[in-house]
Symmetry: D2
Subunit: 428 residues, 4 copies
Amino acid sequence: MNQNDLSIFNEHESEVRSYVRGFPTVFHEAKGYKLWDLDKKEYIDFFSGAGALNYGHNDDNMKKKLIEYIQEDGITHSLDMASKAKGEFLEKFHEVILKPRDLNYKVMFPGPTGTNTVESALKLARKVTGRTNVISFTNGFHGMTIGALSVTGNAFKRKGAGIPLQNAVTMPFDNYIQNTNQEIEYMERLLDDNGSGIDTPAAIILETVQGEGGLNAARMEWLQAVEKICRERDILLIIDDVQAGVGRTGTFFSFEPAGIKPDIVCLSKSIGGYGSPLALTLIHPDYDKFAPGEHNGTFRGNNMAFVTATEALNYWKDDQLEKSVQEKSQRIQQFLNDMIKKYPQLKGTHRGRGFMQGIASEVDGLADKVAGKCFEHGLIMETAGPDDEVFKLFPPITIDDEGLEKGLAILQKAIEEVVAEEKDLVTS
Amino acid sequence: MNQNDLSIFNEHESEVRSYVRGFPTVFHEAKGYKLWDLDKKEYIDFFSGAGALNYGHNDDNMKKKLIEYIQEDGITHSLDMASKAKGEFLEKFHEVILKPRDLNYKVMFPGPTGTNTVESALKLARKVTGRTNVISFTNGFHGMTIGALSVTGNAFKRKGAGIPLQNAVTMPFDNYIQNTNQEIEYMERLLDDNGSGIDTPAAIILETVQGEGGLNAARMEWLQAVEKICRERDILLIIDDVQAGVGRTGTFFSFEPAGIKPDIVCLSKSIGGYGSPLALTLIHPDYDKFAPGEHNGTFRGNNMAFVTATEALNYWKDDQLEKSVQEKSQRIQQFLNDMIKKYPQLKGTHRGRGFMQGIASEVDGLADKVAGKCFEHGLIMETAGPDDEVFKLFPPITIDDEGLEKGLAILQKAIEEVVAEEKDLVTS
Amino acid sequence: MNQNDLSIFNEHESEVRSYVRGFPTVFHEAKGYKLWDLDKKEYIDFFSGAGALNYGHNDDNMKKKLIEYIQEDGITHSLDMASKAKGEFLEKFHEVILKPRDLNYKVMFPGPTGTNTVESALKLARKVTGRTNVISFTNGFHGMTIGALSVTGNAFKRKGAGIPLQNAVTMPFDNYIQNTNQEIEYMERLLDDNGSGIDTPAAIILETVQGEGGLNAARMEWLQAVEKICRERDILLIIDDVQAGVGRTGTFFSFEPAGIKPDIVCLSKSIGGYGSPLALTLIHPDYDKFAPGEHNGTFRGNNMAFVTATEALNYWKDDQLEKSVQEKSQRIQQFLNDMIKKYPQLKGTHRGRGFMQGIASEVDGLADKVAGKCFEHGLIMETAGPDDEVFKLFPPITIDDEGLEKGLAILQKAIEEVVAEEKDLVTS
Amino acid sequence: MNQNDLSIFNEHESEVRSYVRGFPTVFHEAKGYKLWDLDKKEYIDFFSGAGALNYGHNDDNMKKKLIEYIQEDGITHSLDMASKAKGEFLEKFHEVILKPRDLNYKVMFPGPTGTNTVESALKLARKVTGRTNVISFTNGFHGMTIGALSVTGNAFKRKGAGIPLQNAVTMPFDNYIQNTNQEIEYMERLLDDNGSGIDTPAAIILETVQGEGGLNAARMEWLQAVEKICRERDILLIIDDVQAGVGRTGTFFSFEPAGIKPDIVCLSKSIGGYGSPLALTLIHPDYDKFAPGEHNGTFRGNNMAFVTATEALNYWKDDQLEKSVQEKSQRIQQFLNDMIKKYPQLKGTHRGRGFMQGIASEVDGLADKVAGKCFEHGLIMETAGPDDEVFKLFPPITIDDEGLEKGLAILQKAIEEVVAEEKDLVTS
């Protein structure tokens, strides 16, 4: 296949295909924050595989280790047998990530995707508590398999289940009702009221920044309050850090600034480093109660991902990357606020934190138009939120200033054009 | 990590780890049907990653293509955007697999694991029929996420859910009641009786040979009868070919000899060729009704797996591999029947077909002991069945005669030793 | 209202009304086995309020006691407070029914209907076992509220739920597969197979003779085998004796001839004696574990029903009624077998036992026609079975020979006429 | 049984018995607002069978009609066949209740208890909308069968189910968060947010005054707002008027002052007039879509209850009773407010409206003590609320001034004594 032609996909792939519709070209080469299609057209990547490519495409160090591993016929697939690559990952993850953060977790490999880790977390929480209910939040997104979908807010995704989704109760996420501590008070009231109809949950599951849900960033006080709710009522706290974790918000785990210690942490997406499927479920030893094999899966032992994941951990040996992300996050925030001010026609609100920021526009369909224009001008960016009302900046966290500014410039151009077109629309 | 030492795993990995307990060593190198641990001890692989390594470890042709792809910075992770690697796979899969078999399917990438494809299939069947119930079979195994677990028979795995599993009804698999057509008649009776309490299902899901469930191979007549049941009642037929597919039984799809045409086919495990996570859901165009993005997942676009998957399809350009598998299957069957005859103490029954054969032993714990002895003597083999009563031969389908005979010899030795020990046990 | 006119019902009552369509007249007076409509037309009652009027209409002794009670302003409604009427019932029920049969039960008043007692039984069984699954049988009927409907087989009734019905598994009732002990073996196999997908149930619930389900009478050996299954696996046995109990099959409890001792027994319908709402849940003391008020209901204390229920127990002080029912049952059976022989056009099969007998006709719609003709000629009789294929003789168990013969004569006439008409239909 | 002795109940009745523990005596005679036990001790009834005896005990006019009906052998039990007694009820209910209030409903007889009517309403709403979710409210109480229990808030009752309760979502009832319109805004937000995780419901079910839940009276504006929410989103509005209906709040239906027109209304308890089991489901003709017999039940045709229900409707031929209830309600409210002021030790808050008023006390266990003292002094009164924190005045709505004042005097005495004892407790 050497032609930039989508007919193969139109003919043979299911109608469920989605991103190919928004980015209608055939990609081939990729490096760092750049992608090229078969016409060699260059795109800047402000999408990062929906958070699976935090280190950009095909990082050179990881690439080197990966090729070495393949060349020496390191075992590729090992289920949950012990392998050198896996052992090295486990050790380094402990040394570089857990120990310095004073976190005490056993590592479970639940299958290589986000929904696998979420399902394993929910099952475990229910098993250890003997309760069935789980509390999730408005606009939470946790995956597409029935267990994970039951704690996912999106109505369109939920409908795809074809069955009523059960054993979960939705609570308002931070800032949902717009009244500083009201969501917490409301949740406490419901949990403590013997007449509320809310069965005591096994766990509360949440993302600290809701990616798919529209870049809603919880305040640290809110996270602390949720942890307190859990502690006082023997409820397990599960942080789904699949999208917000691995540095996307400026720290390895997104919850670090809150100082909380979840009972279970779900990691996937960028944990493999190179974009290969890998997921971890981190479990406080007190709750490490699955019997051997009680949850399993064929692709728990993706050794190529272990190799690159181990290499990727070098980024976390010092605080250089963290600092860089935090600084660039401020640049992004400033840029977005400028846009909102400069283009009131956006009816825009700033959303998110770290490298998960964007603008929610009240204008119907506008976010989609902005993303469309960006693509035309060589920038890949997606929308989020229940009505796709947010355009979402997700650059690799390793992006340099030049790449970031280039991307922002394209975005500004796209906004300008869309705003102009909207005006024409209204005038005509 | 250069020492063959399990302490890292014991210390850092969750108690849920399982195979490492049966095969307590640290693997590193692998090639074809062989594995080596860090002590350079060689093992013959009659396990094949539970069916994910049908082509053996690190196949040279695939390895070459994979390294090339990585070296040229081909895009690694592409969600469901179009990529060259994906396009080439789609085209070749159509040309080499579907067209020659007169099968008409759209290809969905539901996420890279078996449970992802099963969940997508169940969701789709419920969506297109508007019904919620699904019929599955005794000793069926379909995955560990809640939707797939609901159609899985194993009590131990089901308990791990922590919630009652719903929207599914178990029927007896072929030969369950030991009376030629009775299971079919029983199923028909229940489906057609307005008072049976069995709600008309959206779909019937089955494996043609139940791998985890104990190597129960359905007769072709039974498969045809199930298809007929579906056709006559507008029920969708889903074949979960995750383990039995991709040549394991001697044809690419395990259902080919029955001449049936399922509405949905689930593929994973060996479809990627090299052991990397990949899964497909094949959907008859009439049922290709998910809206764009209604089911999604981060790792739908695992391009390294597309590259090796495409290369692997070369095995299917002619019938050489098929014939070889079919011939060697007879050798395996003969060997197993010999063992059953020669060692009546096994109280053994032959199970399975193709490269999914084994012996069910009525002696409590015996299958486990045989597998343990095999490991000691350098053969990797697992057990299956609800009580782990079956030892299960799963060599790579590309194994040569020498490898096969070596493995069988070890197995015979292991059986002999176990039988001798059992006798001592009884005598003492 | 003095006119025999249905317009009020057509105008003001919901479309869900049902029996009024089959018996389109306005009833007013009733006595013993007779009913009269507003035109003073007399009907013989072979329906008995679907088993709620086993002692016929307005029994003179009960009537006397009831009027006395009302006249002396005995408390009518007492929730579950203690009342004289209730105390007397409890005492007499113990003395006349439980003690002589060596049955040891605590009495729960779960609300006054059959579905109330079934729901209380299911809830209790789940609570005391900590399990959620319940096994019910093909063509079982247990009530219309969601818990009871989940263990009910009828597809039409199930659809009315509007939600998937859960936490129950259907097994084949005795004689379902027509092979003496196969249903039991099949059930044992599924319960003991760790891979069957059948979660160990809290309870097995069954009717010894399925009334609504088509007069399927279980053999005593089958009942004993089910009890054994329960005992060996710590599963509770619930007998729903709502319709078959209170003498309908010739003994007070329908399960007496089998010598089994259920853990929980559900009684309603005729237990009140006079046709007033009353239900009991009999609970073996070991399982009497609901906390005070954990299940409740407004009409648990229907004292008018206690008064007539107590009086009705006089019928059971000796074995006169039992003997009479058993003798007349033989007469009914002989009559039905004669009909089947005499009118092969019925394609009839005998069904049921005791005062729950009937004929299942293979001719589509024939049972309904017979019931229709009966009504024209002054006999009230209903149909049963998943396709209304059974006409069902349900006379009061107190009916005298004259009444019984009169009814049978009308039935024979109706059969004759229907058979003749069917013939005409075929000929023309 | 002529002795006031509870031993029969202790010996033979299930542990689930409840009110007999709070009112430990054997009642026998009852008239109007008075009850007598077997020792001829008189009690004033401020309990009214939990709302089933709004017209007091054994009303003379109803008694006369009832005895006449029984004496003339009027049919007692008629399933859903037409009977004179039922026809007369239907006609009069239409003339006296529905027509003057401009309400257009078909009447369904769903079985004779509150939980029967609630289950029928939920099933119907799900059937006609094709949706499965139902919204209920904090501290709502709708019944003990699984469907009704799923929309009931009380944790203790819910636990009795033994299974996870599904297909329902709890919303905050009026005044739950104490911020005038916030509950409505919150509900609207959740319903209209495509990411909220709240599936569009078939129906919203509510009590206008929550009896069991603690006498929480919704404001009329809130009821109107809920109706508006339903109308704008094609959601059915179900008012469960089982306890608050039939005059208890001062109008026949409790929702009349709000001017709303529910799609379905559930009635039971006092609708029968004399305390006999009877329930109605009132259905707007547009939703009268159950097929004949799709929901049924043995005791739908309780003719003795029809007779007294018809007679009871005479109370509603003019507005005398309504006015009397409304006036006396003010007296009750004034009395309770006086108590709260006079006895600050109660830490009391006024609750409820009409003849459903009471005091919520913040002092743990105090409400129970007050009810206990009342019983000692000859007043029957129960507590309500998730922690039994409310003592609840439920006199018959026909009570005269003398009876009311007598009861209030006893209550005041009880409060005084409890307050004094509490003081002693604190001092000592």
